[in-house]
C-alpha cells in the first residue's frame, strides 16, 4: 500500500515536470516553423522585393496609401513634426500624381514613391555611401552616415527623396527621422523583415481597391510575378535603364 502511494506521488511529479518542460520547449519548436528571417541575418539577393501598381484601378481622389504611410512612418499628417517647414519643405515619402495626356485628354492617377531601382542613381552619387541598396533590392538611407549634402535628391529621377528642414520629435522607432538628413520610402522594410507588407499596399488592399501589390519579383510563383507575366508592367522613365522595383500597369 505504502509503495503504491509513493509511486503515485512520484508519477504525478514526473508527469507535471514533463508537462512543464514540454511547455517551455514547444514555443521554440513552433517558432522554428515560421519563415521570418532572424534579426541578425543579412538580407540576401535570393529575394527581390517589388511592387506592382495598376493605374487603371487607382482612383483620382483616393489617398489611402499616402495616409497609411504617414501614419505608419510618422510624417505629414501622421506626426506633429514639421510645423515650421513650408509646404515645399515638408517631406513626402509617397504622393498621388495626376496625369492628363496632352493629346488625348486621358486622365490617370498613380502613387509615386521611391522606385527602389536596381542601379539607383541616388546610391551612385552618395559620397559617404549612406544611400544604399540592400541585397534584396530595398533602397535605404543610413541615418548614421548621411551628411545632408542632398546630392541624392539632385540625382533622383523621381524626386522621391526629402530633406528634413527642422528638429524632429517623437519619431517612430522604426522610422528614425533627423534634422539635416535625407529620407524616402523604405518599402516599410521594418514590416517586410517580419513577413509583412508595406503600409500603402495594405491600406489599398483593405479598402478593396486592388491597385497595389507587393511581393518577391525573383519568385516566379509569387502573385506579383504571375500578374507581371500575364499583364506586363512598365517602369516610369524606363529609358534610363534603372530596372526599378516598382512597376506600373496602364501607363
Amino acid at each position: 500500500m505504502d509503495k503504491n502511494m509513493t509511486d503515485l506521488a512520484r508519477r504525478n511529479f514526473m508527469s507535471k515536470a514533463v508537462a512543464a518542460a514540454g511547455l517551455t520547449v514547444i514555443p521554440g519548436v513552433m517558432l522554428y516553423e515560421v519563415q521570418a528571417r532572424p534579426a541578425d541575418q543579412a538580407a540576401t539577393n535570393k529575394v527581390r522585393w517589388g511592387m506592382l501598381i495598376d493605374t487603371n484601378k487607382c482612383e483620382d481622389g483616393c489617398n489611402d496609401c499616402v495616409t497609411a504611410c504617414q501614419t505608419e512612418n510618422g510624417w505629414g499628417s501622421g506626426s506633429n513634426n514639421e510645423q515650421k517647414s513650408s509646404d515645399k519643405q515638408k517631406a513626402q515619402w509617397i504622393r498621388k500624381v495626376k496625369l492628363t495626356d496632352k493629346q488625348t485628354g486621358h486622365v490617370q492617377s498613380l502613387p509615386l514613391m521611391c522606385q527602389h531601382c536596381e542601379t539607383a542613381p541616388c546610391v551612385d552619387v552618395c559620397p559617404t555611401g549612406a544611400s544604399m541598396k540592400r541585397a534584396d533590392g530595398i533602397v535605404l538611407v543610413d541615418k548614421h552616415t548621411c551628411i545632408g549634402c542632398r546630392y541624392c535628391m539632385m540625382a533622383c529621377p523621381y524626386k522621391a527623396r526629402s530633406f528634413i528642414h527642422e528638429d524632429m520629435h517623437d519619431q517612430e522607432v522604426h522610422a528614425p527621422r533627423g534634422k539635416g538628413t535625407v529620407e524616402s520610402c523604405t518599402m516599410c522594410v521594418h514590416r517586410v523583415d517580419k513577413d509583412g507588407t508595406p503600409a500603402c499596399v495594405e491600406a489599398c488592399t483593405k479598402a478593396d481597391k486592388k491597385a497595389m501589390m507587393f511581393g518577391d519579383l525573383n519568385d516566379p510563383s509569387s502573385a506579383i510575378s504571375i500578374r507581371l507575366k500575364e499583364f506586363g508592367g512598365e517602369q516610369i522613365r524606363a529609358d534610363l535603364g534603372l530596372n526599378t522595383g516598382v512597376r506600373y500597369q496602364g501607363l
Partner: protein
C-alpha cells in the same frame, strides 16, 4: 636675366585696415548665417525639396571653379614656360588656395549635418564624383602648397616644373570633377551632358583670371607699386580669349540641346519662357558677362584703359555668378520629365516650375566665401613675399629693351 624682387606689403594704412575690417564683417555675417541655419534647420532658408541646392551652392561652386582657374597664370609660367608670367606665380597659387578654401567653407557649412564632416572625409563611395571631388580638393591644397613653396624657395627651383605640371593636371581633374557633378545627373534635362565637365574647365579659366586680374590691380594700385602695361595687356588679352571660349561652349551646349526635341522643354525655359532665368541668361550671362567684356577688352582704345578692363573683369565675375545661378538653380527649377506628353500635378509640386528666390541667410553664408578668400590673400601678402616689389615692364618683361 633680371631678378625679380619680392616684398611683403607694408599693411599699415587705414585703407588696409578698413579692408580687413570689411572682409572680417563678411566672414562674421557668414558665420552668423551658418549658426542660424544649422541651429534651426534649413527651414529658415528658401531651399526646399524642389530647389535642393540654393544660393550657398552658387557661391561655393563659383569659388571652387574660380580657384582652379586662378592657378592658370602659375601653370602657364611653369608648364608652358611663358617667362613673362613667372613673377606672378606665387600670387596665382595663393589666390587658388584662398578661393578654394572660401568655396569649401561655404559648401561644408551648408551641409545638413556639418558635424559629420569627419564621416565625409573617412567613408568614401568611390562611384560618387562627390567623393572623388573631396579627394581632389584636399589634394589640391597639398599639391599647390608644395608648388608655391617651390616657386618661392630658390633652392627648390629645379623641382618647380614637375610640381607645376602636377598642379596643372590635378586642377584639370578637379574642375572636370566639379563639372561632372552636374554632367553625371541623368535625372534632369538641364544636366546629363558630357559638355558640362569641359565647360566648367573653360569657365574656370575665365573666372579665375578675372579675379586674379582684379586682385592684381587692387594689390598694385593700393600699395602704389608699378604694374607694367605690357604685362597688363597680356593678361587682358588672355582674359578675352577665355571669355570668348566660354561663350563658344555655352553656344555649343544650347545649340546641341535645341537640335533634340526632347530637350526643347528646358531650352524654351532658359531661353524664352523662364521669366527671371531668361532675363538673367540674356542680360546677365550673355550681354553683361560675355559680350560687354569682350568689347571692352578688345576695343583699341577701351582696352588700353585699366579702369575699363577692371570693369570688364568685374562683369565677367558677375556674369559668371549668374551663369552658375542659371545652371544650379535654373536646372532645378525646371520640372523633371517623368511622364513625357502628359500634364502632371501632385501634392509634391510635380510638373510645375519650382519657385525660388535667395534668402538672406543663404546670401550671407555664400558671401563669406569671398570674405575668407580675400582676407587670406590680404593677410598672406603682408606676412610673406608673394608680391614682386615691381611689375613695371622694365623690371619684368624679358623682351623689354
Amino acid at each position: 636675366m633680371k631678378t625679380v624682387r619680392y616684398l611683403e606689403i607694408e599693411g599699415n594704412s587705414k585703407g588696409y585696415l578698413a579692408l580687413l575690417g570689411m572682409l572680417g564683417l563678411m566672414i562674421l555675417g557668414s558665420l552668423a548665417a551658418f549658426y542660424y541655419m544649422e541651429h534651426n534647420g534649413h527651414w529658415v532658408s528658401n531651399m526646399d525639396n524642389q530647389i535642393v541646392w540654393g544660393t550657398p551652392h552658387v557661391f561655393a561652386v563659383f569659388l571652387i571653379v574660380a580657384a582652379s582657374g586662378a592657378l592658370n597664370i602659375a601653370s602657364i609660367s611653369s608648364v608652358f614656360n611663358k617667362t613673362a608670367y613667372k613673377p606672378l606665380a606665387p600670387l596665382s597659387g595663393l589666390l587658388a588656395l584662398a578661393l578654394l578654401a572660401g568655396g569649401l567653407m561655404v559648401l561644408v557649412l551648408d551641409l545638413g549635418r556639418p558635424d559629420r564632416l569627419i564621416v565625409a572625409m573617412t567613408k568614401y563611395n568611390f562611384k560618387s564624383i562627390f567623393a572623388w571631388n573631396m579627394i581632389f580638393y584636399n589634394g589640391f591644397f597639398a599639391i599647390v602648397a608644395v608648388y608655391i613653396w617651390f616657386t618661392m624657395d630658390r633652392t627648390m627651383g629645379q623641382y618647380k616644373k614637375a610640381a607645376g605640371i602636377a598642379a596643372f593636371i590635378w586642377r584639370l581633374m578637379l574642375t572636370t570633377g566639379t563639372g561632372s557633378i552636374f554632367g553625371f545627373l541623368v535625372a534632369r534635362q538641364g544636366y546629363d551632358a558630357a559638355i558640362m565637365a569641359p565647360m566648367f574647365v573653360i569657365m574656370s579659366f575665365s573666372f579665375g583670371l578675372a579675379i586674379f586680374l582684379l586682385v592684381l590691380m587692387a594689390s598694385y594700385n593700393w600699395t602704389h607699386r608699378p604694374l607694367g602695361d605690357a604685362l597688363f595687356r597680356r593678361l587682358k588679352n588672355l582674359l578675352g580669349v577665355f571669355v570668348a571660349a566660354v561663350f563658344y561652349f555655352v553656344m555649343v551646349y544650347h545649340l546641341t540641346n535645341l537640335y533634340a526635341t526632347e530637350h526643347h522643354g528646358v531650352e524654351a525655359f532658359i531661353l524664352r519662357d523662364g521669366g527671371i532665368y531668361t532675363q538673367l541668361f540674356w542680360y546677365g550671362q550673355i550681354i553683361l558677362g560675355s559680350l560687354i567684356p569682350l568689347a571692352l577688352i578688345y576695343h583699341p582704345t577701351w582696352g588700353m584703359n585699366r579702369m575699363l578692363v577692371g570693369l570688364a573683369s568685374i562683369f565677367v565675375v558677375i556674369g559668371g555668378m549668374i551663369q552658375m545661378y542659371i545652371i544650379i538653380i535654373g536646372g532645378q527649377a525646371y520640372p523633371l520629365n517623368m511622364f513625357p506628353g502628359k500634364e502632371v500635378s501632385s501634392s509634391f509640386f510635380d510638373g510645375v516650375v519650382n519657385v525660388y528666390s535667395p534668402s538672406l541667410p543663404e546670401f550671407f553664408l555664400g558671401l563669406g566665401g569671398f570674405g575668407v578668400a580675400l582676407i587670406a590673400v590680404a593677410l598672406a601678402v603682408k606676412v610673406l613675399k608673394f608680391l614682386p616689389s615691381s611689375l613695371a615692364d622694365a623690371d619684368v618683361d624679358p623682351h623689354h629693351s
